[in-house]
């Protein structure tokens, strides 16, 4: 009907038209919503599953190493020599009368309850090293522990194995104990605190020294730049591990000493990076404008230059954390890091490596902790770099 009507009159009818809704206003526009650089970085980072996973792992590790140690209720240097080299998983053997025994590989017999909680050690009533046979008495029954070539066997008086064997989690020490009976879980958590603290503080020192040094060198340029950068080049020519070793030999072991030694060696790369960034920025107009209105050089560096090169600095700092963890672990491992009994992951590895055959968990646990932390920080750093790279923008 209306079509006919239109053809006849050639007149537009108001009722055929409607107002455009606000959200439809840009429906045919070819450009999307403009987002700032940092919004884009955040969006890309959020889409990256690896980065998300890394952040979760890092938060868990940080939580565990800050509050974890108070939750275990044990101290990192309390020793219980009778319970040394206890593995995290123990095999308990149950006798017919319901008594639970745990036979330790060092030829010790412990009593446990049915949940795996070690209550007592029982001494042998007679020990014959020639026959490789220990005899025990408990609740009126006799048990034999033989350790001939076929391994350790725990048998009742008729030389028959006990009826029930099962593996159970060590309830006294969830991750076992080390060679002098210290709780490995507490030491691992406290060691994580030490390792991460060193890594973060070294990174902060790297940031402060490197950014200021590079900023000043790049901003003033000319002869000052040449002198400052030659110094960096010479210091960089010395292999950094040797430099740290030398400083540690001079300072002696200790957490503050390793911090200072690492801070003194780690800022060089950051200084070069910041200098390069500042050099490329300082000829731009906004710096000239700031100079013209009389802003002081320090303020120009801090408020105009550095915020504009924050991206590479953040990436470099994130990636320097795993580097610092590895260096600290390495130095502690060769006996030039944190001073025992204070644990760090390197110290724990050092203490565990000797027992790799008899108690492999002592070396595997700190190794896993180090690897996990290094992976998390490295993946986060890589994802940050990808997210901040404008060439990879989609």
């Amino acid at each position: 009907m209306s079509e006919k009507h239109d053809e006849k009159n050639h007149e537009p009818f108001i009722k055929d038209w409607t107002y455009v809704q606000k959200e439809e206003l840009n429906a045919e526009s070819t450009t999307g919503k403009t987002i700032s650089y940092w919004q884009d970085v955040r969006r890309r980072l959020r889409k990256n599953k690896l980065a998300g996973g890394s952040i979760v792992v890092i938060i868990l590790i940080l939580l565990a190493s800050t509050v974890g140690q108070t939750l275990t209720g044990k101290s990192y240097d309390a020793q219980q020599l009778s319970l040394r080299n206890m593995p995290p998983v123990i095999e308990i053997q149950t006798a017919e009368d319901g008594t639970n025994f745990y036979i330790h590989q060092d030829l010790k017999v412990f009593l446990t309850d049915q949940h795996g909680f070690i209550t007592d050690e029982i001494p042998p009533v007679s020990a014959s090293l020639a026959d490789k046979l220990f005899t025990y008495e408990y609740k009126g029954k006799t048990y034999n522990l033989s350790f001939s070539g076929e391994g350790i066997k725990f048998e009742d008086e008729n030389r028959q194995p006990l009826p029930e064997k099962r593996k159970i989690w060590n309830k006294n020490y969830l991750l076992g104990t080390d060679s002098i009976g210290r709780d490995l879980l507490t030491r691992l958590l406290y060691g994580g605190r030490v390792s991460l603290l060193v890594a973060f503080l070294v990174t902060i020192c790297t940031l402060v020294i490197g950014v200021m040094y590079g900023g000043i060198s790049g901003y003033y340029g000319a002869n000052l730049d040449i002198v400052m950068m030659r110094l960096v080049e010479i210091l960089m020519a010395i292999p950094s591990t040797i430099y740290i070793i030398l400083l540690m030999v001079y300072f002696g072991q200790g957490i503050y000493n390793i911090l200072i030694a690492m801070a003194l060696t780690s800022w060089l790369g950051m200084a070069q990076l910041v200098r390069g960034q500042v050099l490329s920025l300082k000829e731009q107009e906004f710096i000239l404008a700031a100079k013209t209105v009389g802003v002081s050089p320090l303020k120009i560096i801090l408020t105009h230059l550095l915020p504009n090169c924050i991206g590479p600095i953040v990436v470099s700092a994130t990636l320097s954390i795993p580097g610092a963890i590895a260096t600290e672990a390495f130095m502690s491992f060769i006996g030039l890091g944190v001073k025992p009994p204070m644990p760090s992951w390197g110290i724990l590895s050092n203490e565990g490596i000797g027992a790799i055959r008899s108690s492999p968990y002592q070396i595997l646990l700190p190794s896993i902790a180090i690897s996990l932390t290094m992976f998390a920080f490295n993946f986060l750093g890589d994802s940050l770099r990808d997210a901040m790279d404008p060439r990879q923008r989609k």
Partner: protein, 307 residues
């Protein structure tokens, strides 16, 4: 070109001079002399010892003596093992370190660059993904952690390789792998990104449009240009491996330079610490010098940048 080389050479000498000076004064500044034991020595014995090791002279004189003796490659007597010189002990330890270093360098050469190029040529395909995942893990994991995992599986669980010692050829397998894995993965990643960078260059397209064969483009035009950053990394790695590594030698009880370094630190054998510091830095600095020259031969543009 000669000017460039002489300039780099001067730089190298200055660096070495600073390293030697810093090492000397740092070691001398450590509280407690080399002969301060738990039990105090009779003064006459201590004087005799100091005179024997020239420690009674003024510090400056000692310093110049030390500089001169280093020029003659004489690192002096050991403070801990009486009657032995540091030179002898270095000569004892170096062969084992060098054997390990050379073996792992060969592994790095065989696997590092080819894997990177395979990954680059198959970018974002399955081989590339696999190589990248493995090499990321290999780069991140510290060598001593890798060593403990390998030791646990091959020596403790499977019991096919010895836990320590280099008495038979089997003893070299694990330390060589531990030393090589990190650098292989690093070189793989580096040569992949470098190759990708080169592949996107204009001259590669030119070479293709000239009708050159694909293998010729990749080997002659691609490889040569992409190897420049790889050479630096390779050179530094070889230099570092040659002087022994502290942790791997300690874990596997290899009687090499690295373990000697660590033990001389714990024994406070200062002449040995100084000698090994200077030796390893010297090898590093000379390596950088040689790399610079190779760099110049590989990339003629570098000369132009030099004023």
């Amino acid at each position: 070109m000669l000017k460039y080389i002489s300039k780099r050479f001067a730089m190298m000498v200055i660096t070495m001079f600073i390293i030697i000076t810093a090492t000397f004064f740092l070691m001398r500044a450590i509280p407690g002399g080399p002969f301060s034991f738990d039990r105090a020595l009779p003064p006459s014995v201590e004087e005799a010892l100091n005179a024997k090791y020239n420690l009674d002279k003024p510090l400056i004189e000692q310093y110049f003596d030390y500089l001169l003796s280093i020029l003659r490659f004489d690192f002096g007597p050991s403070y801990v093992y009486f009657g032995r010189t540091v030179n002898e002990m270095i000569a004892d330890g170096w062969p084992d370190s060098a054997k390990l270093g050379i073996a792992s360098s060969i592994l790095i050469l065989i696997f590092g660059v080819p894997l990177g190029i395979v990954a680059a040529l198959n970018q974002n395909k399955r081989p590339d993904r696999a190589i990248m995942v493995i090499s990321t893990i290999g780069v991140v994991i510290p060598s001593f952690v890798l060593a403990t995992f390998l030791l646990y599986f091959f020596s403790v669980k499977l019991e096919i390789l010895p836990t320590f010692g280099v008495d038979s050829w089997k003893g070299y397998i694990l330390p060589t792998i531990c030393l090589a894995v990190g650098p292989i993965c690093g070189i793989t990643r580096l040569s992949r990104s470098s190759m990708l960078d080169t592949l996107s260059q204009d001259y590669m397209r030119t070479a293709e449009s000239k009708g050159l064969s694909r293998s010729r483009i990749i080997v002659v035009h691609g490889l040569r240009n992409s190897l420049i950053p790889v050479v630096t990394s390779l050179g530094m790695t070889f230099a570092a491996l040659l002087t022994g590594t502290f942790v791997i030698e300690k874990i596997f009880a290899v009687p090499g330079l690295g373990r000697y370094f660590v033990s001389s630190i714990t024994n406070r054998d200062y002449t040995a610490v100084m000698a090994l510091t200077i030796l390893s830095s010297a090898i590093m600095v000379v390596a950088v010098f040689i790399i610079d020259i190779i760099y110049m031969l590989l990339d003629p543009r570098i000369k132009l940048y030099d004023k």
